[in-house]
């Protein structure tokens, strides 16, 4: 079973809670996919008022772990402040750390990310950093105290799927003991299965389900794909070959006639 900061989680799919047609459909999608962990954006869902009120109660009623995130933060200071607020509102040390470097591409600012991760880890946060697939950045994040890494596979919401399989493979190879969760860029269940087959520990997505024609059915499809990808990884997939290899022997074939 997957363990994240000492917490056993049964599902290897994590879902975001934004952009659904309605909270009722979101709740159904979460149930249909069997996820254990959902991410909640503090800024958007709970700013002011009664901390998200009904929306937050609905999420609580689903019995899932909440991974608050600092979505939309563009500076270290903003991200750290949001993380502290999130700890109070959601009563958890978990934080999905996003420090956005470019408003348009939503590419992570990896320098700010490392700095914020350092500050938050020192304050006892259990940081899930949203990062690129860069190896050195990953090392710095581990040095900063992160025990989980969440590399993108393509820009947020782009639905493009794994853009650099070599980088993802190399990240997996370098950090065999670190839980790696692909966060952002997944568009289809086949993308999720692909990264799971590489040995990634889990997949986090939102738009691909929330904006699907039928979010509930798509959530179920992703649940199955993640499961299938994981099973395939454990089963040891066959390596690709350049030559055809017959599945039945040719030499010594019985001769009829």
């Amino acid at each position: 079973m997957l363990e994240l900061y000492g917490q056993q989680v049964s599902s290897r799919l994590l879902l975001g809670t934004a952009l659904y047609p309605s909270p009722a459909i979101m709740a159904e999608a979460i149930k249909a996919s069997g996820v254990d962990i959902v991410t909640v954006s503090l800024r958007r869902e709970t700013s002011g008022g009664k901390a998200g009120g009904q929306f937050w109660s609905l999420i609580q009623s689903l019995g899932v772990h909440v991974l608050p995130n600092t979505a939309g933060c563009h500076s270290v200071k903003e991200a750290v402040t949001t993380a502290r607020m999130a700890r109070e509102v959601f009563a958890t040390n978990w934080i999905k750390l996003e420090v956005i470097g470019n408003h348009d591409t939503l590419q992570p600012d990896v320098f700010g990310l490392v700095e914020a991760a350092k500050i938050l880890s020192a304050e006892g946060f259990e940081v899930f950093p949203y990062t690129t697939d860069d190896l050195v950045v990953a090392e710095r994040l581990l040095d900063a105290g992160c025990k989980v890494l969440m590399p993108w596979c393509a820009p947020i919401g782009s639905a493009r799927g794994p853009q650099n399989l070599d980088a993802l493979r190399s990240l997996r190879g370098h950090f065999p003991g670190v839980p790696l969760i692909v966060d952002a860029g997944i568009g289809r269940p086949s993308h999720a299965a692909t990264v799971m087959e590489l040995g990634y520990d889990a997949v986090l997505l939102n738009t691909a389900v929330a904006k699907a024609g039928d979010p509930v059915a798509m959530a179920a499809a992703f649940g199955k794909a993640v499961e299938a990808g994981r099973q395939a990884f454990l089963a040891g997939p066959l390596e690709p070959r350049d030559m055809a290899v017959p599945s039945t022997p040719v030499i010594g074939m019985a001769a009829f006639s």
């Binding site: 047609p21 309605s22 909270p23 009722a24 958007r44 700013s47 008022g49 998200g52 009904q54």
Partner: protein, 329 residues
């Protein structure tokens, strides 16, 4: 039959109109001192059920498709039937395809057709979706116009109604107070909007600009005004608009037409939309009390249908005996 309606937003006023048209004696009480300022006041006023179907479930289309007729009938001259134009920057063309797959009742149009429909948008967008059957109105004029008409029809209004005010006796009471109803299953979805004024752009119809993160619409109003809306935030606070929201809304308006960069920002507004978990409205009855709520972002679109349902329920149960029966059910 005497009916007391709580709330002078779009739900309360449309219900008052349905009931008064059928000859009921209607009183509307409202805790605000005037109509201005409620969630309906901040609305876009789009009667766009086919566009809304993109993100809403089917009842929004089935209940909303006759809304323009209802408003035209109730307030002749208020409804503008010029359709809706949906555009996307070239970079986000995939959003247009996605929107088209989820919606119906439109035809795809090219740059030439866009220029013919909205000359000021000429050369700015290569493709769009045109929803010819949709309409819009100015929600503020519609609310005030409806109130004026209701007064002429004999409906009584009491504004500034509080706990100290004298109680009214009625055969039926209708709660149309939106988010103030404080129902446990109701949540608030904060919406923020801007009103810009410029004479450098003119639009004949609401234009929706698709964007993966911040889709917005710009609704033209008389007097060179444009309503730009609206954010959707899971929050029931009605405090002032945030700087971020102003920036995002202005950015989007600027992307639609750079002349909006020189427009005057004459007003910002915040409203809290009442919504149930499925974002669909309800008419609920408990004895001689009835409530209309959960109109979410579809107040002007769905209020007529909900008012009709509520009015049928009220007028279909006139005897005291039946009311008692209902109350004990």
């Amino acid at each position: 039959m005497k009916v007391l309606i709580h709330g002078a937003g779009v739900a309360g006023l449309t219900l008052a109109h349905e009931l008064a048209t059928c000859g009921a004696g209607v009183t509307v009480i409202e805790k605000r001192r005037q109509i201005a300022g409620n969630a309906s006041w901040q609305a876009g006023g789009m009667l766009a059920p086919w566009c809304e179907r993109e993100s809403a479930e089917d009842p929004v289309l089935s209940l909303g498709r006759d809304a323009a007729d209802w408003w035209e009938n109730a307030l002749p001259g208020h409804v503008i039937r010029n359709g809706t134009l949906v555009v996307a920057p070239a970079r986000d063309a995939a959003e247009l395809d996605r929107f088209g797959r989820r919606a119906s009742g439109f035809r795809p149009v090219d740059a030439e057709a866009i220029a013919a429909l909205e000359p000021d948008l000429e050369g700015r967008f290569g493709r769009a979706l045109f929803f010819a059957g949709e309409a819009h109105l100015d929600p503020r004029k519609a609310l005030l116009g409806l109130q004026e008409k209701l007064v002429q029809m004999g409906v009584r209004f009491e504004f500034g109604y509080g706990t100290a005010s004298k109680p009214y006796m009625a055969d039926f009471e209708a709660d149309c107070t939106g988010i103030a109803a404080a129902q446990p299953t109701l949540r608030g979805v904060r919406g923020e909007m801007l009103i810009l004024r410029t004479s450098e752009v003119s639009l004949a119809r609401p234009v929706r600009l698709l964007h993966p993160r911040i889709p917005v619409y710009v609704v033209p109003r008389s007097g060179n005004l444009f309503m730009v809306g609206a954010t959707m935030i899971e929050c029931d606070a009605a405090g002032p608009i945030t700087a971020r929201s102003v920036m995002e809304l202005l950015n989007a308006a600027y992307a639609l037409h750079p002349a909006f960069g020189e427009a005057e920002l004459v007003e910002t507004g915040v409203g809290v939309r009442p919504a149930f978990a499925d974002n669909l409205p309800r008419v609920e009855r408990d004895g001689n009390k009835i409530r209309i709520n959960g109109l979410y972002r579809h107040g002007f679109l769905l209020a007529p249908a909900m008012a009709r349902q509520a009015s049928d329920m009220i007028l279909g149960h006139e005897t005291k005996k039946e009311l008692v029966h209902e109350a004990h059910r």
